[in-house]
């Protein structure tokens, strides 16, 4: 691979094919490895194409300690990726087992411990499948080759005649044995402190034995028995529990506070440091008591804040003229003016919150000036750097460990709670655990950005779509380009000065952009008097997108299900399709309206999804189903409402996420493409459901709702 691949860019999947074999070298276990893994050998593998830059002057920066082979023959694979429910632990274990020629049970995966893992980057942007899986496969293929080479040398046979099965070398002849455990023996590991030339190949899809199979969640037993320790479950000797005083509203400045009443609570530590006010005590109860006592004495200077009622006009009037990017093909402005029919509409997307089941949590411990933090984050090295900067430590002075975490959805890229725990632990001189409250999560975690989207389309006399204009205010540029073949098209993203702190979210803005585009495609189909499926297919040249759309429509029996209604009906059907991050989704939905109650309900959903070669069908199905149901939340109910710098609905009793009763009949179609590189699947399946429902509502009621959540004065979702 000739150039580094940056985290955010996502070119065609072929870029991630492996052009170059790995090379590797050895070192005897470093101190950290011995502490964590026991004696053995560490296999370092080059990491081109990940975050490490290739630099000929200092080759060691390109080498990552990827594998540890223990004296007991257990192979431990190391990665900075995290498991937040998307299935990375299982999939990466499969990838390693595939190339090591070991059963899944004999591969151990250590994720996201910055003291020992190579930096594969954070866990974001559906990057684990296209980038970390190949990197781990290469490292493990190198490990297998090393086993063969060492055995060949030990027994003086031709390496080309040897293979590996269940971790043992085959072809050595009767009575001769050599396995991964032998590699770790002193005799062999000393002979192996060298780099080995490239030339190792990884298995082709048709040769897969572990990848491509339905491996169940690794670590399932620890989860169902409650034994797994999530970040909020980590305990350290002498540990205290910490609580942080939050401002009374956004932008409120603390003018004065008296910490004496808090300190009067037995054993409580109270810290004020700049904007930070926190408390630690032997129990959460006492820490809360201390915080609440201090809060009574706090004097705040509040700031002006816009409310969610005026949000969309606020965004439009706070668009930045500098931070705007417009991509134009052909002459959309002129064609929209001269088209036979031109439609213009505006769509609104509310702020929503990730609301992972496990709120942000961290345990911090200082020892001899060094800091260790266990926390739930998707960006362990970024959090390590934040901590190092905050506490003026060197990179080596901070270790961040991410136990498998209770949900992320793009919401845990930051490390506020890690800093809070570390500050309290520094003051208390004891380890401190901080876990945010649910209200903290709804108020102080970053949000998925709200947006205003203006779309215009022009049809010619024959009903062909000849012009397109799509402008997104604030919510983001991902998947803003139309996948339809339109000769004159413009897309534009305008960054805005916005009232809430925002960040990543599962599929981020592609949900908003797909909602506006696919709703509007439906409006154009109606204006052209066409079947929405037929209208889309007429303008689609992308074979992969056509394939999922046709697959979903056929399974849904769209031809018989859809009728051009001239009057309101009890049920309606709608569809939508989209592509993002190299994968393809199409969704069909059927809804039912209860006129008297003024409510509607989603009855059934068929979704087809394609992400190249399928690496684990059960995990993929779970991701698709989870996306559909999570997407229902943003489509039907989720919306953060705020006024005077305060959240009006920061509770699960006020902000309604999907529950069992909301789950429609779901059918998923996994389109497998063994001929194509695998890409991520945790995000794109969420983007089709909202427009499919909006279109089904229009089909039933002849009323178009152009906002997420889907709601108007006459119609709301049944509870």
């Amino acid at each position: 691979m000739k150039s580094p691949i940056h985290e955010l860019e996502f070119p065609e999947p072929e870029r991630y094919e492996l052009h170059e074999g790995p090379f590797y070298h050895f070192e005897i276990s470093r101190r950290e490895f011995v502490q964590v893994l026991g004696a053995g050998v560490v296999l370092s593998v080059a990491v081109p194409g990940l975050l490490a830059q290739r630099s000929p002057q200092n080759r060691s920066t390109n080498l990552a300690q990827r594998l540890h082979i223990g004296a007991d023959g257990v192979v431990t694979v190391l990665t900075s990726k995290v498991e937040v429910g998307q299935g990375s632990r299982t999939q990466l274990t499969q990838a390693a087992a595939e190339e090591l020629h070991l059963p899944v049970e004999r591969v151990q995966l250590i994720m996201a411990d910055t003291a020992i893992v190579p930096d594969d980057g954070g866990t974001a942007g559906s990057g684990t499948t296209p980038r970390a899986v190949p990197a781990i496969r290469k490292g493990c293929a190198a490990g297998r080759q090393l086993l063969i080479d060492t055995a060949a040398a030990a027994f003086n046979v031709d390496a080309g005649t040897l293979s590996v099965r269940d971790g043992k070398v085959e072809g050595l002849g009767a009575g001769r044995q050599f396995s991964y455990a032998d590699l770790a023996s002193e005799k062999h590991s000393k002979a192996l402190q060298r780099e080995v030339a490239p030339g190792v190949s990884i298995a082709e899809v048709k040769e897969w034995r572990v990848l491509g199979t339905p491996v169940l969640r690794v670590g399932a037993n620890e989860i169902v028995t409650g034994a797994h320790r999530y970040p909020s479950d980590v305990r350290r000797p002498g540990m205290l529990y910490g609580k942080v005083l939050r401002p009374i509203s956004y932008g409120a400045q603390l003018e004065d506070i008296d910490l004496a009443p808090a300190k009067a609570i037995s054993g409580a530590t109270a810290v004020r440091d700049g904007d930070f006010v926190g408390f630690a005590a032997a129990t959460s109860f006492e820490a809360e008591l201390a915080r609440d006592e201090a809060a009574k004495t706090a004097k705040w200077k509040t700031a002006e804040n816009p409310s969610s009622d005026e949000l969309y006009s606020y965004l439009r009037s706070n668009a930045s003229s500098q931070r705007s990017r417009r991509d134009v093909k052909g002459s959309p402005d002129e064609t929209l003016k001269s088209a036979h029919k031109t439609l213009r509409e505006t769509y609104h997307i509310a702020y929503i919150q990730h609301a992972p089941m496990e709120p942000r949590a961290a345990v911090a411990e200082w020892q001899e000036g060094k800091l260790t933090v266990w926390t739930g984050t998707q960006q362990p090295s970024r959090v390590r750097d934040d901590l190092a900067r905050t506490f003026r430590l060197s990179g080596d002075g901070v270790r961040v460990v991410v136990p498998d975490t209770g949900g992320g959805f793009g919401g845990k890229h930051s490390g506020e709670v890690a800093v809070e725990a570390a500050r309290l632990a520094l003051a208390a001189k004891k380890p401190v655990s901080v876990r945010w409250s649910r209200e903290d999560e709804f108020t102080w975690a970053y949000f998925r950005p709200a947006g205003v989207i203006d779309v215009a389309g022009g049809l010619d006399e024959k009903g062909a779509l000849i012009a397109w204009d799509h402008v997104n205010f604030n919510s983001g540029a991902s998947a803003i380009a139309t996948p339809y073949a339109i000769p004159n098209a413009a897309t534009e993203f305008k960054s805005c000065n916005q009232p809430l702190r925002t960040g990543s979210y599962r599929a981020l803005a592609s949900t908003a952009n797909a909602f506006a585009r696919e709703s509007f495609m439906d409006e154009l189909a109606a204006a052209a008097g066409a079947d929405p499926l037929e209208f889309r297919l007429r303008h689609l040249t992308n074979d992969r997108l056509r394939a999922v759309l046709v697959a979903a429509a056929e399974r849904f029996n769209w031809k018989n299900a859809w009728k051009k209604n001239s009057s309101p009906q009890k049920t309606g059907v709608g569809l939508a399709c989209a592509t993002e991050k190299g994968s393809y989704v199409a969704c069909c939905a059927r809804i039912e309206v209860d006129d008297r109650a003024g409510t509607f309900k989603v009855l059934d959903v068929v979704e087809a999804f394609e992400c190249g070669a399928i690496q684990n069908p059960v995990n993929l199905t779970a991701q698709v189903e989870g996306c559909i149901v999570m997407g229902l939340g943003g489509a039907l109910r989720e919306e953060m409402r705020f006024k005077d710098g305060k959240m009006l609905n920061p509770r699960f009793s006020q902000y309604h996420v999907p529950r069992f009763k909301d789950v429609p009949q779901i059918e998923t179609i996994l389109v497998n493409r063994p001929d194509l590189a695998s890409v991520g699947a945790g995000e794109t399946p969420i983007i089709g459901i909202a427009p499919a429902i909006a279109n089904a509502l229009f089909n039933a009621t002849r009323t178009r709702i152009r906002s997420m959540p889907l709601r108007n004065s006459a119609l709301r979702v049944a509870s």
Binding site: M357, A622, F652
Partner: protein, 158 residues
């Protein structure tokens, strides 16, 4: 003010001296190191904190420790016996009914309580019983399959 409490925890007598207004959830997690019971919302809306109190599924975040005096508390840690999973746990593993898994202890205990009451519930009854439990990964389809698997005739559901 600290008071002494006695109750049966996972089949064994438990004594504890603590502030009576603390929640059972906090005492289990912080004083007794039983962290399988999870904090999800603190307002009784998500049931990640479910435990069995005299056999009924209750929200430990809404239960003050004083309320369990003399009663029988079972947490997720008590279900597997000698390394053998409880049939409901087994069903969750086999149906891959977990993504991040944080809600799973609460889901498992709610299902156990349901099956003790009604060994062969209909799907509608399962949905009704589990509707209070939130899974933000939204892996509801597989949880329903797991509950149905555990409820199949011939399966011991105790």
């Amino acid at each position: 003010m600290k008071k002494n409490f006695q109750f049966t925890l996972n089949g064994k007598p438990q004594r504890i001296s603590t502030e009576s207004r603390r929640t059972l959830l906090e005492v289990l997690r912080e004083d007794l190191d039983l962290t399988g019971t999870k904090f999800g919302c603190g307002e009784g809306q998500c049931r990640a904190c479910t435990v069995l109190l005299d056999g009924n599924a209750v929200r430990s975040c809404q239960t003050e420790v004083s309320e369990v005096e003399g009663r029988k508390v079972e947490t997720i840690e008590s279900l597997a016996q000698n390394g053998k999973l409880h049939p409901v746990q087994e069903a969750f593993v086999k149906e891959n009914a977990m993504q991040c898994g944080y809600c799973v202890p609460g889901m498992v205990l709610t299902t156990v309580a349901l099956l003790r009451r009604n060994p062969s519930p209909s799907r509608a009854q399962i949905v009704e019983a589990l509707n209070g439990n939130i899974c933000r990964c939204c892996g509801y389809v597989n949880v329903l399959k797991a509950a149905e698997r555990a409820a199949r005739p011939g399966k011991e559901a105790q």
